[in-house]
Structure formats: C-alpha cells, structure tokens
Point group: C2
Chain length 476, copies 2
C-alpha cells in the first residue's frame, strides 16, 4: 500500500473527523447553502444509483410495484394519525403559502408516506381480490434535524418506502421477514456488509408497529448502525386510515400491513465499514469506478495505445472503467488519489510493462499487488472484481464475528461496550431494564433480540427470568 | 379489432374527456387527496421508469453525471435572481415553519433548480480544468397550478434537469443542440413519437436564455405539445450566480451555460399520439406489459402447461410478459381490458390452438391478427415487438407529415389551424406579429422556426421582409 494520504485524519485519532474528511475529499457530497441539506455529488450519488438498481430488481422479483405519491401531506390528514404525529411533529417542515396565498390547510413536506399510502389504498382496495398490494416508492423525505452528518442524519435524504397490504397477519408478517432477507442479501451481495439481523426489542419497536425487524451493521469504531428496518404493522394504521375490504366470507375486514425501508444511510455504512486511513474502500458492486487504468509515461504513443485498447475492451465487458492519461499529474499523485476514492482496482501500464508483457494490478482493499499478463487482463478483471467483492464481505464478516462477546453481568456488559462491538446477553426483555442498561453503559441499546438459549438464565438488571438474548451495542 | 370499449368517451366526441378516461381506466394515475397532486400508479409510473432508463443511458453516453441537490431553496437566494423570480413567483409553494419554529428565511419548494446548481458550481468550478461540467438531476418539482390535467399540468411532476457549464459559447450552444438530438432519439426509438424539432421564436424563448430549442409532438386532436426543451443560456445566469473560472490565459472568465429537461409530460404525449377509441396504445419500448398471454379455457391442464411454458420462455428472453389464467373473467372481457390498457401484443392459447399447433396473436396498434406456430412464438415475439415499435413510429410520422400545410396568408393560416395540425408560413419573426397571429387564430403560436426558404417572401401581418419560416399550431 502506498503511504498514508495526509489529507485525511486517521480513524483512531478522530473517527468522526475521518468520516467527514472522506465524504468531502472523495467528493461524495458537499454541504449546500441550505442549512442541514447536502448536495449529493456524482461520486456519492453513483453509489446510491448502484444500490438502487440492485435493490429495485430484488424488490420486483418479490412482487413489488413502484408508484409515486405526492411530496406533501395536508396538515388536516397528518393530524388525524395521533401516534404518528407525535413521532414526527418535532421534525416537520410545513408549507403555508401556495401561489402567493396563505393555505387554509398547510402542507407538511413528506417525512414518510404512511398517511398517503393509506389514502391511496382506501380507494384501491375493496375486495380480497384486490389483495395483496405491494407498492414501493423511491423518493426524498424531509426531516428537520438540528445536528446533521453526511448520509447518516440530515434534513433531507433519499430512500425507498414499501407499504404493503395483505388479507392475513401471517402474510404481512412473512412479508416483513421476507424483505429483511432481501435487505440482508443487498448487504451480502452488493454492499459487502454482513448484517446482524433480527427483531427489535419492545423499546426499539417503531411506534404503532406490532413488530420491527432490522439489519444492523458494525462500523470500524465498534458502533452499530441501523441500516434498514421492516415492520409488521398489524391493522392499526389501516383502521385509522379507513381501509376495509370485503373478505372471502363477504364480511368487511381490515387488511394487515407491512412496511420496509432503506436509505442513503447505506452509503454511510459502506464508508464506515470498509474505509481505512487512506480513505474510501468501495466494494466493486457499488463503485462508480470499478477499475482505473493509469498510464505511466502517459504521453508515450505505445502506452496510450495499450491503455486505450484495454479501456475499450473493459468497457465492452460492462466494467465501469476510467482511463487516466493526464500528463499534468504524477503517477504517485494519481495512485494516492484513486486510493482515497476507494477505486477497487488500479491497473498500471507503462513502457516497461508493454515490453515485458506484464502489467501491475493494485487491489485497494487488501493492498495486494499482482503482475498479470497484459493480454490476459481484460479476461482477468471481471473475475478479480468478484474475488474482491467476496473478500471484502468475508473480511467484514470476520470483524463482525470477532466483535461479539458473551457476557452475563452488567460489569462485563459495560466493559465490552466501552471497547466497542456487540455484547451478547440474556435479559428479561422489559423496557425498564433496557433503559437502565442504556444509562449504565452510556448509550448501549438492544440492537436485535432472539428468543433462544435463555434457559436457566436471569436478567442481570432485575434478577427475573430471562426471556430473550440480545446483542447490545452503542449505535449511531 | 374487438368492439369499442364503452367505458371510454370517443376521441372525436370529447378529446379532453377521452384523455382523462384513459388515464383513469387504464390505471395510469389516480387523483390524490392533495388538491392538484396526482398519485402515479404502477402502470403509469412503469412508463416513466422505462423512459427514464432509456434516457439516462443516452445522457451518460453524452457525459452527463447524475447528482441530487436539495428540494428546497432559501427565499433569500431565490429573490436574488430577479428575472427568474418573476417567472416562477406566482406558482411557488413556500415553507415557513421548520421543527415547530417560524423560519427566518422561508424555503421555496424547488420549482426548478437553476439557483441551486449555480450555487454548487460556484464552489466546484475554479479553473478551465474543472470544465466542462455536465450535471443532471432526476427529481420532482412543485409548481402551484390552478388548473391541472394528469401528466400535462399539475402541482407536482417528475422530470430531469440537466445544467451544464462550458468554457465557450460554441460548446454550450452545441450541447443544447446535441441534447435536442438526444431527445429526438428518445422520441424515435423509445416513445415511437416523431418530433418537430428546432429553435423557438424570440417570443417563445425561455426568460433569460439566449436560445431555446424544443421538441414538439402532434396530438390526435391536431394540437401540438411541447415535449421537452434545451437552452443555451449564455453567461447571464452564471454571472448572477457569481460563477467564474481562471481561463487558459489566466484571466478570470464567466462560463457559458446550457440546460435541458424532459418530464412526465411525455406520458401524456404517448397517450395522445397513439391512443384510440378503445383506449391506450403503448409502444413496446415503454409498455409495462409488452405481451399478455391469455389462456382460453384457462383451467384446462394442457392450456395451463402451454401458457406457463411460454410465459417462462418469454420472461427468460427479457420480455415484460403477463400470464392471465384467471377463471373468473371471460376471454372477451380480458381482450377488451388489455386493449384498453394498450398492451402491444396479445397471445391467445386454448385447447384448439394446442391441437392445431397454431396460436392467435393480436397486435394492438394495427388491430391485425396473425396465426403463429406455437413452437415458434417465443422466437417470433422479440422480432414482432420491434416491428410494432417501428410501425407505430412510421404511422405517427405519416400523420405528422400529412398535417403540415404551407400557407401564405392569414386567412389560410386561420383555416388551417382551425382544422388542426401545422401551418408552415414565412413571417418577420417579430414578437408583435406573433402576438397578432395568436389573437387572430385564437391561440396559434410559432412552435419552431427555421432560417431558410424565406427569399422573396413577406410577413403577412406587417408586410415587412420575412426572416424565418415557422410551424404554427395551437398547443397544449
């Protein structure tokens, strides 16, 4: 690996600063002049486009259909959903003037679209024959945030929100679990991120939901990041929204609902799971540039010809490839630059490589260098990109697994969470004990709970019988 | 062709009613509970997804890079651009409350993003080495409209806006012309719509632009629809936005700007160019369902087997295919339904077809029926879809060409525009004469102008020497 990029703070010195350095220097985003809102630049937006394309294909395979609903919600409709309003009211942006006139019914800029989907379904769903409905929307949402952080928390972000209706509880809950599996697959095959996945504790369940499931990623600093959630919402939202259908026995029934969402937060997860002190490290599946060809003595005609030929060949093979023959920068500068931008694979071609028929390849994530026969590169690269993708996933998986420590006492729990990573511990599952744990550990929360291996164990807080095993961690 | 679908008003009886009937009955959209805003349903949104995918690929081939900028613009920034504000002020939606507090600087919900792109470029562009910049954004915009019409005019629509910066006037104007060609290609190869394309008259030029170019489609009722525009903006916007760069000779220079956009209005164009009295007629490239397999006696095991086999085969071939074995509806009902939804190709398979080894194909746009060997269908369909796509384009092209009438006097102009279609006429090119023509013809406007074949001709309004030939039409 080339020497440390001085423009970026080391992770162990200041992880938060390292993170924003990477976001800025790699040109993923830029702060906009609108406070709390960012500009998604091509290199950052390109990651989102790759995630979106991958996810959208999987959603459609599961029967999801895309729609687009209004970006605003009349305040009168918003106010109807009490529980919902309480959760979102402090962070809404409200339009009060339209076409130069004061609006009688102000419009809330969509923070999430439960209300609008309910309103749509009320019109579309009349009979069990109209079910199931599996609508999904790719859009932006606005939530008025005081403290912001690129991709992790901001006043506007991009996401998808799936809102589905089913005849029965089983179908709706199964859908929430099925989409959790889809999210897990997005992590595995696209982001190279292994997720801890499972049910949320009562305390962490979405307001109004019967059950919330989540995928959790482990960041380099040992903190967890909730990377997506799916919910089985029961019939509460549907009842409040006045949705009813004629069932198979002619009686009027209320449909069961599920919802699921992932957002541009996943870009933050990719940065913090894979990045290192030299900057970004991107898995090939989401990398806007999968391979860069750097010409050494780039004005040499033979070098130009060899580089261009390879560039065209890789492009034809569907690789997202960049050719750099810019004579105004040194190869060393370029190497550091493409490392900082996390390009998975760098190919160096100079006069000596052409003479020897061997070219140098540098693999970003492992720092490994290889010599490959020039006339075999085009054939090798797709295989190598797959190898990198898998290698990154397995490396992250080892780190995740190594971070899990079994604990039984509050002292052990506290010590483990201080170091970072997950502490696996049985407890009673009650909100009260969870809050005490959070206080004691300065922020440790139950990330996912599992109803297994609790036999004979007790809750270290209240001393009652343990009902669940939880993975505790500090989280973003 | 099967008999007229009674649920839809005839085009010649009431074209406006026919249009909304088709939008609703074919489930392209639904009116939402937010006044002026529509719900894009899967079948309508699917058309937009197909257009977007096709267009995005072409844009990227031309060097465009996608970004995402904030959905709100501070009023203080908005007010800075005088000319711009005048154009958009009457139709903006303004947020005044955020996080429960009154905003000191209210936020305009983005009606278009010139201001935000300028603000971004001001930070990104410092030297001629940073140019050109070709950023594009896919997003929704809000414009407070009093009268709305699905896809044609509404308080919110989906679009793309390309905003580009160049060193020279030539590059920027060339980009506006190049993107006009791209839009034309989208019409030809994706929408099966031939466009009239060219420059706008002074009167129809975008406020603040040096030149506006547009693509214009001819609707069935003889009216033109502006389907997309590209602009050469000169240096005015860049100057107002404070964008400057160090030129090749070290002097500070102002970049030249272009912009270009198409929107969900194109869905309206597809409906009104191709639709007929039985409903929608979709070109295969944008059809969410390209072919439907309808089983006749659909509960017959052999029919099921044959239908499912073909369905899987077509799916593997990348065809967007639907299989309908629903026993609760008659084949006749289904035929009318899929016709109304504009599915390009219908394949009927019943016990007799299996016996004879021949299956019936119905082509939506021509009404033609064909018998094809069952074991050759899977191979035939991709070819047939291409044939349909091309046939629809050529048919629309014939209609467009037949609608163009050369006229020389105001009487001829008026008579031609009353019938519908384009009147081609030389005139002086001055705004004053254009306004008189609009008044006299009850709404006729110059759609595109060309600086050719004007020798010896005079303007029929003012009597001065003609400088341009214009295609006049009434327009949406």
């Amino acid at each position: 690996m080339d020497k440390k990029n001085e423009a970026i703070t080391s992770r162990d010195v200041d992880f938060a600063k390292w993170y924003t350095d990477v976001c800025r220097k790699a040109e993923l985003m830029d702060y906009s002049s609108v406070k709390g809102f960012i500009n998604y630049l091509p290199y950052g937006y390109g990651i989102w486009e790759a995630i979106k394309e991958f996810a959208d294909r999987l959603f459609k395979e599961k029967g999801a259909e895309n729609v687009y609903l209004p970006s605003v919600i009349p305040m009168s409709m918003f106010d109807r959903e009490k529980e919902h309003v309480e959760g979102f009211a402090p962070e809404i942006l409200v339009a009060t003037i339209g076409g130069g006139k004061r609006l009688e019914d102000p419009l809330v800029i969509r923070p999430t679209s439960e209300i609008l989907f309910s309103d749509l379904y009320k019109h579309l769903v009349k009979s069990y024959r109209d079910l199931p409905k599996r609508f999904n929307q790719w859009c932006s949402v606005v939530r008025w945030e005081k403290t912001t952080r690129p991709f992790l928390r901001g006043s506007e972000f991009l996401w998808q929100e799936g809102h589905c209706l089913f005849e029965t509880e089983k179908e709706a809950n199964d859908n929430a679990l099925e989409m959790l599996e889809v999210y897990d697959r997005i992590g595995r095959e696209c982001l190279a991120i292994p997720f801890l996945k499972g049910k949320k504790s009562a305390h962490e369940t979405f307001a109004g939901a019967v059950a919330t499931y989540s995928i959790e990623a482990l960041m380099h600093d040992g903190k967890a990041l909730q990377a997506g959630t799916t919910h089985y919402l029961g019939t509460g939202f549907a009842k409040a929204g006045g949705i009813a259908f004629q069932g198979r026995n002619n009686a009027l029934e209320t449909p069961h609902q599920s919802s699921w969402g992932i957002s541009t937060r996943l870009i933050g997860a990719v940065i913090m799971v894979h990045g290192d002190d030299n900057g970004l490290v991107l898995p090939p599946m989401v990398a806007p540039i999968q391979a860069v060809i750097v010409g050494i003595k780039s004005q040499d005609e033979k070098v130009k010809e060899a580089c261009r030929g390879l560039y065209e060949e890789l492009k034809r093979a569907g690789i997202r490839v960049k050719l750099d023959l810019d004579p105004s920068k040194t190869p060393g500068w370029k190497f550091a630059e493409y490392e900082m931008k996390g390009v998975p694979l760098r190919i160096e071609i100079g006069p000596r490589d052409i003479e020897s028929g061997l070219s140098g390849l540098a693999i970003r994530f492992s720092g490994e260098k290889r010599s490959v026969k020039l006339n075999e590169i085009a054939h090798q690269i797709p295989l190598l990109l797959r190898e990198i993708q898998e290698g990154m996933y397995l490396a992250a998986k080892s780190r995740l697994e190594a971070s899990i420590v079994d604990v039984e006492t509050l002292e052990e729990l506290k010590a483990t969470l201080e170091k970072g990573g997950y502490a696996r511990m049985a407890y009673c599952g009650e909100e009260e004990c969870e809050l005490k744990i959070k206080e004691l550990t300065l922020g440790g929360t139950a990330r996912c709970i599992y109803q297994e291996n609790v036999e004979g164990k007790t809750c270290p807080v209240c001393g009652k019988k343990a009902t669940v095993v939880s993975y505790f961690a500090k989280a973003y």
